[in-house]
Every structure is written in C-alpha cells, then in structure tokens.
Symmetry: C2
Subunit: 133 residues, 2 copies
DNA sequence: CTCAGTGCAAACTATTTGCAGATTT
DNA sequence: AAATCTGCAAATAGTTTGCACTGAG
C-alpha cells in the first residue's frame, strides 16, 4: 500500500506524494514525464507546483520506488519500479513504449562486462523504431 | 579527407567545421560534449562561438558524419561515425567510455523486434559501472 | 511544537534562435 | 554578387533552488 512505501522511504505522507505514487501505480500508461504527472494531478483536483513534482520524483527515485529513463529527446520519463528489470522499445511515431526482458541479452552483458574488467552496476537498452500493428 | 566530407554534406568549408571534424578525427579521446569541443577549439587558437559548435554538430549528425549519444546526465556526447556500430560502457567514476560490439546481442535485438512486430530503426545499449583496472 | 514539505518565483544549464555583419563559392 | 555561415546576445526548455509559509507527526 502506497503510504507505507512513502513512510519507509523516510518521507512524510503528503498529498503530492500520495497522488503521484497512486498515479504511477494505477494508470494504464506506465511512463510519464514530470510535466505529464503535473498535468494529471492538476486535472484530478490535486493542486501542486511543478517544483514539488520534480522534488518528489527525485526522492522516489532515490528511494527506489520509481525509475527514471533518459530516452531520446529532451525529457526524462518516470515509471514505477515493480522490481522486474526490463528494457524498452520506443515507437518514434506514436511515442508508445513497450517493455521487454531478454535473458540472453542480460547474460551477454554480464559476460562482456566481465571480459572488460568492468563492474556492471546498471544498464540501459532501448530499441527505437515503429510498431507495425 | 575532411573537407570532402563537409562538401559532400552540402556544407561550405569553413574554419569551425574543419576544426571540429579534425578534432573528432584525430583526438585519442573519442567522445566529446559540445562544451568540450568548444573549449578544445579555443585552446587551439580557433575562436568560435558555442552556438556555432552546436549548429555544426547538429549539421554533422544530420549528414551522418558524427553520432550523438544521450548517456546519463545532462549533456550529450558526440563522436565520429566510423561506420562500425557499437555500444558503450561508461565508467561512472572516471567518465571513461569504452566501446564494444556484440553480435549475439545485436541478433537478439532483431529477433525481439520481429517478435513484437516492431521495425527496428535504431537502438542504444549502454552499460554503466566501473572499470576495475 | 518542530522540522520536513510546499508553492512561487527566480536561478540555472544545456541548447536554440534572431540578426547584422563576415565568409565561401 | 548570392547564399551560406558566424558570433553575439537574447530566448527557450527542462529542471533546480531560495525562501517564507504550511502541514505532518
């Protein structure tokens, strides 16, 4: 339940935090820019400042509640961290984002890192293209 | 030879363009931010404006002479396009960037795209971590 | 009551653009 | 000469921060 996650992150339970987390948890859309979240909240009777949205998102990322992605373009997108690592396919026309996970690729990444004496801490794989359906 | 590349891109041969391309072609360092390129040129007796650096880089990317990457962080980095596709490992401590290419991963990406009815136009894979040597 | 959290506006950073003068062809 | 290119300064876009007030615990 949302509120516990917030509390466990050492943060006070406030309206903006509850609403942002609820939005990310319940929306069919999985990926949001800060601006989109801000607009969603305003549209759903929660008055917040954009600064608060950014601050809360930053704190949630630090707390491991959500993840931040840097796809092509200028804005970052945020999504709930459901604990299952995955990569993304981004439709460059529609903006649609689909997630996938592939153990073969994950495994190769680990091997490549090891071959280079590289301690792998994180990685980001994004496919850009267009869905044909 | 540099100048031909510039000309073939439909661009006039000017000092900023020649120097930027030369820097990317001859430096041991392969990846530069716009600011770094700007500073390099200034340090090597070529007076340019940062705006020109950005404009030229944008044109070079459009012409396929160089590539632009969006790693974590706020700045983009540019590197010469030598025609050989590769991915990157970024050392989060030192900033060192090492390139690699893996056919297994490339192949899996194509398969995954196909499985999802996705026309793959581009992709970006970056490993973040730390070199242990 | 205390300290963390908030909204607002101002500050910042990376990048882009308008414009008048300079340069390439 | 014609068209492109450049530097400068101003404009933008996304994000961050200072500050006085508000609200959670």
């Amino acid at each position: 339940m949302d509120k516990n996650d917030i509390k466990q992150a050492g943060l006070k339970i406030t309206k903006p935090r509850i609403e942002i987390l609820k939005l990310l948890e319940t929306s069919k859309k999985q990926h949001f820019t800060a601006e989109e979240i801000y607009q969603e909240l305003l549209a759903h009777d929660t008055k917040v400042g954009i600064a608060t949205v950014y601050r809360v998102l930053t704190q949630f990322v630090a707390a491991g509640l959500i993840m931040k992605h840097n796809f092509e373009g200028d804005q970052c997108v945020f999504e709930l961290d459901r604990g299952e690592h995955h990569d993304h396919m981004v439709d460059m026309k529609s903006g649609r984002i689909v997630e996938f996970h592939d153990e073969v690729i994950e495994q190769r990444q680990r091997e490549i890192a090891k071959e280079h004496g590289f301690e792998l801490l994180d990685h980001s794989l994004t496919l850009y293209g267009e869905f044909k359906d």
